[in-house]
């Protein structure tokens, strides 16, 4: 057995690196060989020579960066093992967004799972998280504070639909990240019985089309442009777009909009207030506090490494509950990306 897990994976300025296997996981700088957990742009960057990821993540990267985003790509089959320079690698569903995976790396009886971003609750737009036993579990800590307990997503969508009914003369602008959250919001609206056309910002179009090809039915969508119609067409409509667009001039085309934001951060009222959000929709693609602590309890690893977010609270919980834990200082991942 390897003496120290750091021989298998450790943090470097370019990202999480395997000295034994000479590869990186979700590197933030261009590298020779990169393993990518999922398609969010802070994890999946362009410019690496060789990229290994699930087929869906590779497809998403091609949509975002063009088909030639890497010299060489390799598809990782979920649950199948491959070897890279004597290190055994396998990908397992992470439940974060379409195509997302945890990456297990193993050598001489030492296994580390880099979970990337993950969540534990059901999401109709991606495969659910599969727990993988390991010696070291690398966990995200985006919402690692006991204040973050995400409510039932059905109830959150019901809040939105109630407001649409209450304010039929206004349009509801739902800020949601283009990959994952936007499609999840749309799919949840469909599951709640909303069958009217949903208008989408241009930045979402390719990804929504791609989700459709992967069998995730999003129902009738139309671009949120007024070239053809008038402002009044958007009265009572739901419009989904990236949050940044709603603060921009783009948003002015809609009648007296109700600004909504689908994010785990919306749990904190001050966050909503500062962002000028009128209707917060608490919906996250990351684990909440209970999911994080339950996952650690379930996996029972001998070490926990916590990264990007509020590591100190999770490390404190691990101390109290008898897990060896330390923060893993990785830079370059956006705290806000939910």
């Amino acid at each position: 057995m390897l003496k120290r897990p750091e021989e298998l994976l450790r943090s470097t300025p370019a990202g999480l690196y395997s000295p034994a296997g000479d590869f990186y996981i979700d590197p933030i700088r261009p590298v020779d060989r990169a393993l990518i957990t999922h398609g969010h742009s802070d994890h999946a960057r362009s410019g690496h020579r060789k990229v290994m990821a699930t087929q869906q993540t590779l497809d998403i990267m091609a949509l975002r960066y063009g088909a030639d985003f890497a010299e060489e790509t390799q598809t990782a089959e979920l649950g199948k093992s491959t070897e890279v320079n004597g290190v055994t690698i396998s990908f397992h569903p992470a439940g974060h967004v379409l195509g997302s995976a945890q990456i297990a790396v193993e050598k001489e009886g030492m296994r580390i799972v880099a979970s990337g971003d993950y969540k534990r609750r059901a999401d109709p737009t991606c495969l659910g998280f599969e727990p993988v036993a390991c010696d070291v579990f690398i966990t995200e800590a985006t919402f690692a504070l006991p204040v973050f307990r995400h409510p039932n997503s059905r109830d959150e969508i019901a809040k939105l639909l109630k407001s649409v009914e209450q304010f039929p003369e206004r349009s509801h602008l739902v800020g949601a990240y283009a990959l994952g959250k936007a499609q999840r919001v749309i799919r949840l609206l469909r599951d709640a019985g909303y069958d009217r056309t949903i208008y989408i910002h241009g930045a979402l179009a390719k990804l929504c089309d791609y989700y459709e090809t992967q069998g995730i039915k999003l129902g009738p969508l139309a671009p949120a442009t007024i070239e053809k119609g008038s402002v009044a067409d958007f009265a009572g409509a739901i419009v989904v777009g990236p949050p940044s667009a709603f603060l921009d001039r783009w948003a002015r085309r809609f009648p007296d909009p109700v600004s909504c934001f689908a994010s785990g951060w919306m749990r904190i009222r001050q966050r909503a207030r500062q962002g000028g959000v009128e209707l917060p929709i608490i919906l996250s693609d990351h684990c909440d506090w209970d999911e994080l602590t339950d996952t650690i309890t379930e996996l029972h690893p001998s070490q926990v490494w916590a990264t990007h977010g509020r590591e100190e609270a999770l490390v404190r919980w691990c101390d109290l509950n008898g897990y060896a834990a330390r923060p893993l200082h990785l830079v370059g991942y956006e705290d806000e990306g939910d």
């Binding site: 504070l145 006991p146 204040v147 307990r149 809040k159 709603f246 603060l247 749990r267 500062q274 000028g276």
Partner: protein
């Protein structure tokens, strides 16, 4: 409790008045008695229940979770009630049929001692979800602070029942939570409740601004002229020993002005302006609006304040003379009655707002330009024949305010607006120059978010976006250099001294009156200009 919590969550984040009215009216429609009435009372501040101290809540949570984790959480959230509502986890999850209603909570708390209340709160926290826990904690710590005034809540009732808001204001002080007869009337299942209480509020008569086309109507035969005092409008009513001081929207503010209430020995209803005096070593003089603010928005008033800032009322109308309702009489007749009425009152607490003699409109224009006292903000013109009617009819009463003060200031920060304006930088912080003439710097003196046209808003927004130097969340700082920047002409009604502002001054009703694209920033005003104005208006000759 959950519906109430959902309402609070929406109200607190809804900036637009119409949005709030709609949310409230829908809640009143969809929620049964007594919950809707109790929610109303919670919002208007008329709920009288046991208070729980923040320290007791801290002790509760300390029994349940690691203090280090709580500290991390509180530090992140910043609000005690919100933090506890989020971190609370029930000892064991309870079934939904045991969720308490707002009625259950209020009924129990009305009878509870403070220590009982804490144990009840603990039990309810176990039964409620995070949003309802937050509402409960805000309720028991006595501060909803959701940006809804009692006035707005009454407006929502009026909208819900399709009645005029003055009808509700008139009834309000005879009603008690949970207001079932009121809701029954608004839903048209019962007659309008009789106002049974003594000394009720009578909706006030308001004026409209005098504008150019109406100047010709004003002549000394038809109109009386008075000074317009810059205090707060009050209605004093006293009936069979019950004495009340109402604001112009019908809020009972008697508790804040015992120095007036103690001397309300009359029977009747007076309309007037509440002002404060300022005592110096030798004599009393009328204070500025800033002095009056020392006495406003206080639950209780200290003996020291009563002495340093005594209140008095400058009366200008009589609505009830004894038990006789004289509102239908013409103003001229009411005025004669008022002059006789005032003679029986304590002269240090009540005096008469004098009529101003004039012959021509030009006389009035001159008075308006040169008022004899800084607390005067213009003229009031009242038709001798006018009856006292609620609301704001056009013609019988005009207000003719003096011109606003104007300064040129430099735009330094801009903040994104809310609602319709969320994509615009529409709230502007402006500054004036201070320091040595050779090396001046800007000091912010105020903030304004109206006064400009939609077209100007677009120009301002574009200027902000193209001249941003730094961003802090929703705020941008913009280029403001001697030769590059934007000068705003700012109009305002007055100045107060302020300890909270670095500049030492605070403006009243500042608004953007013109965009001075033509003016280089270095030519904007200096702080000395405002300081001089402050001296002139605070120290009457």
């Amino acid at each position: 409790m959950e519906e109430f919590a959902a309402l609070l969550d929406r109200l607190v984040l809804t900036p637009a008045r119409n949005g709030k009215l709609k949310l409230l009216a829908d809640y009143f429609r969809d929620t049964p008695d007594p919950d809707r009435g109790l929610a109303l009372a919670a919002i208007t501040g008329d709920l009288n229940i046991a208070n729980v101290k923040p320290a007791m809540l801290r002790a509760l949570i300390a029994e349940r979770m690691d203090q280090q984790l709580f500290a991390y959480s509180y530090d992140y959230v910043g609000d005690l009630a919100e933090t506890i509502s989020l971190v609370w986890s029930a000892d064991e999850p309870l079934r939904s049929n045991s969720v308490p209603t707002l009625g259950d909570v209020v009924t129990a708390l009305e009878r509870a001692s403070r220590s009982d209340a804490v144990r009840m709160v603990e039990k309810w926290l176990d039964q409620l979800d995070a949003s309802a826990r937050y509402a409960l904690l805000k309720l028991v710590t006595g501060g909803l602070r959701i940006g809804v005034s009692a006035r707005l809540a009454k407006q929502a009732l009026a909208q819900f029942g399709e009645v005029d808001v003055t009808e509700i204001e008139e009834l309000w002080h005879g009603l008690t939570p949970p207001y079932q007869p009121l809701f029954a009337w608004l839903e048209k299942t019962a007659e309008k409740p009789e106002s049974l209480s003594l000394a009720p509020f009578r909706p006030v008569m308001l004026s409209t601004p005098l504008e150019e086309p109406d100047h010709a109507r004003i002549n000394a035969q038809e109109y009386a002229a008075e000074w317009k005092w810059d205090g707060i409008r009050v209605q004093l009513t006293s009936e069979k020993g019950q004495r009340r001081i109402y604001s112009r929207t019908g809020d009972d503010i008697s508790h804040a002005f015992p120095d007036i209430a103690d001397f309300m020995t009359f029977e009747g209803t007076l309309d007037g302006e509440l002002l404060v005096a300022r005592s110096n070593d030798t004599e009393m003089e009328i204070g500025a609006f800033g002095d009056l603010q020392q006495r406003l928005n206080r639950k209780t008033v200290s003996a020291k304040q009563l002495e340093s800032h005594p209140a008095f009322v400058r009366v200008y109308d009589l609505l009830f003379d004894g038990a006789e309702d004289i509102r239908a009489l013409p103003f001229g007749e009411r005025r004669r009655r008022l002059e006789a009425f005032v003679k029986q009152l304590e002269p240090t607490r009540f005096d008469l707002s004098p009529l101003i003699g004039f012959e021509t409109f030009e006389d009035l224009a001159r008075y308006r330009k040169n008022p004899p006292h800084p607390i005067i903000e213009g003229l009031m013109l009242k038709q001798y024949t006018s009856a006292y009617v609620p609301g704001r009819p056009k013609g019988p009463w005009f207000k003719w305010k003096r011109d606003p003060f104007i300064i040129d200031a430099v735009l330094v920060y801009a903040q994104r607006g809310h609602g319709k304006r969320s994509s615009y930088y529409s709230d502007y912080t402006f500054a004036v120059w201070t320091g040595p003439e050779t090396d001046p710097h800007l000091v912010p003196v105020g903030k304004a978010y109206f006064g400009f046209t939609d077209e100007e808003l677009k120009q301002l927004d574009a200027f902000v976006r193209n001249n941003t130097t730094e961003r802090f969340g929703p705020v941008r700082s913009v280029r403001a250099e001697p030769k590059h920047g934007l000068v705003l002409e700012v109009a305002f009604e007055g100045l107060n001294r302020s300890k909270r502002h670095k500049s030492g001054v605070a403006m009243r009703f500042p608004r953007i009156s013109r965009l001075r694209w033509d003016k280089p920033p270095i030519e904007a005003d200096r702080l000395e200009t405002l300081e001089a104005l402050l001296r002139d208006t605070q120290n009457p000759e």
